[in-house]
């Protein structure tokens, strides 16, 4: 009986057990599936595995103009975009098509920062940049020059408002042979050349500073003279006796070398050092550990012990040593800034170091002389401008070429209280017009004209006709 009772209750126990097991299995499976769904697809689950969240590399940092205009930026889809098109492309540089990794210009120099997603704001003013580029590109075409560069520097602060280069370079276009086609290069920073006669006002400033001459000091200056077996010639016909002002006006090599003999070589060399003509690191570093700075071509200036009489004479009128247009702009800005050298800066927030080089009166006197002696092609009716032309011979295969020249103009806008310093360089202009006064001075004038319009400064008709304000004729 007992056996029968136990056998009768056994199937019921077994059945209940299977139900429990089945329910548990279903429950575990369902629970597992639920967790799986939650874990892998939940958009906001804290327990979501790290592997499910895709970590994107940082988007390459932006380069912006002073007003916030993007000059170069990247997105998740595009390696690099240049909203301003052809503007400032040589300064910005370019990078690899796929990754955006910098190959030239700021893209190369600032690679470490940009790759980490750090954005940088430049001092470049897109309006001034476009003015400089428009004038430069037109001149390069007219003069058939190999290339050209313009630097516009704010006189009081040292901020670089424009760094223009030509011919135009399109970073988005198919790349050409980098060795033959140099349109990609930022010549203003990367090419050191002999500045030629643009140096004469600085030599004159040294003479004034050292009290070895005044603007009205007269000097005997025939059309040529011999120094240490070398003949120095003047190009522009002029009277045989010139004042220092006239030496600048006629750009007399003979006059400036004769007057410069009043100062010892080491004195001029010392001023070249103060004007940072030997400085390899002209722009301040953005970071010191590790050192990140914009590269500037190192100047080539002979050491003082290798300055013989001929080398010294050459140096007084800008031959025999090589500096970049940026070096020249910074040095000229000393005259614009009442004798105080301002380190050029390219990034907002950088500190521009300054040092007094000339007395304020010396700088004003030189500006006055440059206003009176300015080249005809640089004059702008109704405005006061000041500057100096330069035509430098270029060394080709170890010798000064008789056909390759660099045409330069360095000046201020406006002359009395300069707001900006402008340096124009045209390399190897061709045809009959190759001098700084013929091809570089008009670029300066065009830039000055458009800057005055940008700043809203009308012409002073008093300087043209009689006194009084004028009105625009429509």
């Amino acid at each position: 009986m007992n056996r029968l009772d136990s056998s009768a209750s056994e199937p019921a126990t077994l059945h209940r057990g299977w139900v429990v097991v089945a329910a548990f299995v279903v429950f575990v499976l369902g629970m597992g599936y639920g967790f799986y769904v939650l874990w892998h697809n939940a958009p906001s689950l804290l327990l979501r595995p790290a592997s499910a969240v895709v970590e994107l590399p940082p988007v390459r940092g932006r380069l912006e103009a002073a007003d916030g205009t993007p000059l170069a930026f990247s997105t998740n889809d595009e390696a690099r975009l240049y909203p301003l098109g052809l503007s400032a492309t040589q300064l910005i540089g370019f990078g690899e098509r796929s990754t955006g990794k910098g190959l030239s210009g700021l893209e190369h120099d600032l690679e470490k920062l940009l790759a980490q997603g750090q954005s940088l704001r430049l001092t470049i003013d897109p309006q001034v940049q476009s003015i400089a580029e428009q004038a430069l590109w037109k001149a390069i075409e007219t003069a058939k020059a190999d290339w050209g560069a313009v630097v516009v520097m704010e006189s009081k602060t040292g901020r670089l408002l424009a760094v223009a280069n030509g011919p135009v370079f399109d970073p988005a276009a198919p790349r050409r042979n980098f060795q033959k086609d140099l349109s990609w290069r930022n010549h203003a920073f990367a090419y050191a050349l002999e500045p030629g006669s643009t140096i004469k006002p600085l030599t004159a400033a040294v003479l004034l500073e050292e009290k070895m001459a005044r603007l009205d000091t007269r000097v005997y200056a025939p059309m040529s003279r011999r120094i240490a077996g070398w003949t120095i010639n003047d190009v522009v016909q002029h009277p045989e006796t010139l004042t220092l002002s006239e030496v600048l006006k006629y750009s007399s090599n003979v006059g400036i070398t004769t007057l410069a003999e009043r100062i010892p070589r080491q004195t001029l060399y010392g001023y070249f050092q103060k004007l940072r003509f030997m400085d390899k690191e002209l722009l301040p570093s953005i970071s010191y550990q590790p050192r990140i700075a914009v590269q500037v071509a190192p100047p080539q200036v002979r050491p003082l012990q290798r300055w013989g009489p001929a080398e010294y004479a050459n140096a007084t009128f800008g031959q025999g040593f090589m500096i970049t247009p940026l070096h020249l702009a910074a040095a000229y800005n000393t005259l614009a800034n009442d004798g105080v050298y301002r380190q050029p800066i390219l990034f907002e927030g950088s500190t521009s170091q300054s040092a007094a080089v000339f007395r304020p009166q010396v700088a004003r006197d030189i500006r006055k002389a440059l206003t009176e002696g300015i080249a005809e092609n640089a004059k702008l009716a109704g405005y006061s401008l000041a500057g100096k032309t330069g035509t430098a011979q270029v060394v080709v295969e170890g010798r000064y070429s008789s056909s390759v020249y660099a045409a330069l103009f360095a000046g201020f806008v406006p002359a009395q209280t300069p707001r900006v310093t402008v340096v124009v360089t045209l390399f190897h202009p061709k045809g009959g017009r190759i001098h700084g006064s013929q091809v570089a001075a008009p670029v300066y004038r065009d830039i000055a004209a458009r800057l005055f319009a940008l700043w809203g400064i009308p012409p002073q008709l008093a300087t043209m006709n009689s006194s009084g304000k004028g009105k625009l004729v429509r």
């Binding site: 329910a23 629970m31 599936y33 967790f35 939650l38 689950l45 993007p70 997105t75 009308p458």
Partner: protein, 96 residues
């Protein structure tokens, strides 16, 4: 048997709850994905529009367009001097 049924009901409710939550999350995730795609599309469109904007109104483009259409900077324009009655002629090449 009652106990089993009770547990089964509890398990069933838990299972339904969990599956519902999973399904909800799945839907949320799908929606998020759609929004992310839409955001990426809008971002691409924004970039295109930004580039187009600068292509048309960047200082260089604007200046070239203006000068091609007769704009003369005031510094190069003709100015009338009321005192002298003279007119400063516009420099060569500056007229439209």
């Amino acid at each position: 048997m009652k106990t089993v049924l009770r547990w089964a009901i509890v398990y069933l409710f838990l299972l339904i709850g969990l599956t519902a939550l999973g399904l909800y999350n799945h839907q949320l995730s799908t929606r998020l994905q759609a929004l992310q795609t839409s955001e990426a599309d809008l971002s691409r469109k924004e970039t295109r529009l930004l580039l187009e904007q600068y292509r048309l109104v960047s200082p260089l483009a604007l200046r070239q367009w203006a000068e091609a259409n007769g704009y003369v900077p005031m510094s190069l324009a003709q100015w009338d001097n009321p005192r002298s009655g003279s007119v400063r002629p516009a420099p060569e090449g500056s007229a439209p």
